[in-house]
Symmetry: C2
Subunit: 252 residues, 2 copies
DNA sequence: ATTCAGATGTGACGTAAATCACAAGAAAAA
DNA sequence: TTTTTCTTGTGATTTACGTCACATCTGAAT
């Protein structure tokens, strides 16, 4: 259930961004359209780091405080219970960033971050990140908005964990991952479908339970899996299943 | 299990703080030692609101965005599941504030806030709060730090919910609530002990389970209840119980 | 093709903990 | 005081779902 470090750490760190890195940073959502002064701070302090699939980018309790910007690839933020069970917090695609918590409050890392696939990352030291926040109030506001968004989704997650059944949490997770079908309009799918173990970590349940949910959905023609994509056939039925209040009796 | 609105809403709102309110605001942790310009913004825009025990101060999905500062009293932040189960997020004592999420991102309230006891609150409109953040970078930084703290504790909570047993979550909650005994040194207690139903909402379990945990702790001489206070006799044993990894088998 | 590791599907079983039900204390109201 | 309402303690019963076990499928490597 725990992920193994299949590869040796082959990440490389370069000092100062290449021209490739510079243009990627200038296009980065958080920095897009920023004034020259801001970009100057970024270019002067940013470093690049490459890392390969499944590599651990940073780990819980570490004292470092760099902020990471995902230029290419995708990372997963996870934690492990005492018994080794994996709990996933988020999957961050290119254009996102992580590690800002430690940069802001100086406390150790609260989670582990793993590369889902080969990644290109830019890093800023805590000092540089703080300088950035201080020089550009626009970016500071965006960062604050992002923190608020994180809180809201964490609160949602807590509510889900506290009140939904394991089956429902899987339904909810599937609904969260759905994207509009690029080909057929008004149709939803998940591609690439994560492994059942990864879905289980997001829904805080077991791989077997995810398997059972998926079979049941398939049997009821609500969702169908074809190799690496899951087609959602009956969105409304799935939403109904996710929302159905447990026959808990009185809804007072 | 759900709290009733026993009292009619008897809250009063005053326009502009009285001298009593002014001094309370000047002493408020977030504003303490702030420059005159900042206090000026606060005094000009703050209103006072009183509300009585068990009153609902604001509710989920509302579109308002005022920020509330607890000058006196205590409030609970909660949510309800579809089936009516209460999930508590936090208890905010005097000196704390809430409602900043909606003020920052303009989205609706994500939870309900109830007065635990009679309260005196100061409020700022979203516009005033934003002006405050813009004029005083020191306060902006403090607010950001608080957001980070909220995220960290929410993440902890998610980890607890996903990996601990119901009993363990109650142990953890008890440990969180403990305060040093004001009389005897090196001794810990909880006063006033919330009702079992409230503890259950924090630990996301049932009242009965909390009762069973408390009996067991009493039986093992780990914690003893005497009317409204819980004395923790054997802190280390309690911590051990909270941390014990389930006989989950292999810790890989 | 053949092999092999990882991912998936599904039954059987055990158990933590929710649910139900009620008695007995405590505190508040009369 | 007595009465009423809110809280607490504890048994009996039920069930969701985690655990174990193994068969089958899939896709990458040889």
């Amino acid at each position: 259930m725990t992920s193994e470090n299949a590869h040796p750490p082959v990440s490389t760190t370069e000092s100062g961004p290449s021209s490739e890195g510079r243009s990627a940073l200038a296009e980065f959502p958080l920095f897009k359209g920023a004034p020259a002064a801001t970009l100057d701070v970024i270019f002067r302090h940013a470093n690049l780091r490459r890392c390969s699939a499944d590599e651990e980018i940073l780990s819980r309790d570490e004292q470092a405080g760099d902020v990471y910007f995902v230029l290419r690839g995708e990372v997963r933020i996870v934690n492990y219970s005492a018994s080794g069970r994996e709990v996933a917090y988020a999957i961050i695609p290119a254009g996102g960033y992580f590690g800002e918590l430690s940069a802001i409050d100086g406390r150790p890392r609260s989670a582990n971050v793993l590369a889902v696939e080969d990644c290109l990352l830019a890093t800023l030291t805590p000092a540089a990140f703080k300088e950035l926040l201080a020089t550009d109030t626009d970016i500071a506001a965006k960062v604050m908005q992002k923190l608020v968004r994180i809180i809201r989704s964490a609160d949602d997650r807590i509510l889900d964990l506290a009140t939904l059944s394991a089956y429902q949490r899987v339904y909810v997770e599937i609904l969260r991952m759905k994207k509009p079908d690029p080909v057929r309009p008004n149709s939803w799918l998940i591609y690439p479908l994560p492994t059942q173990a990864q879905i289980a970590a997001l829904a805080s349940t077991t791989r077997e339970t995810v398997a059972r949910v998926l079979s049941q959905l398939n049997h009821d023609h609500i969702a169908e899996r074809k190799s690496k994509t899951l087609y959602i056939r009956e969105l409304s039925k799935l939403q109904a299943l996710a929302a159905k209040s447990q026959p808990d009796g009185k809804m007072n």
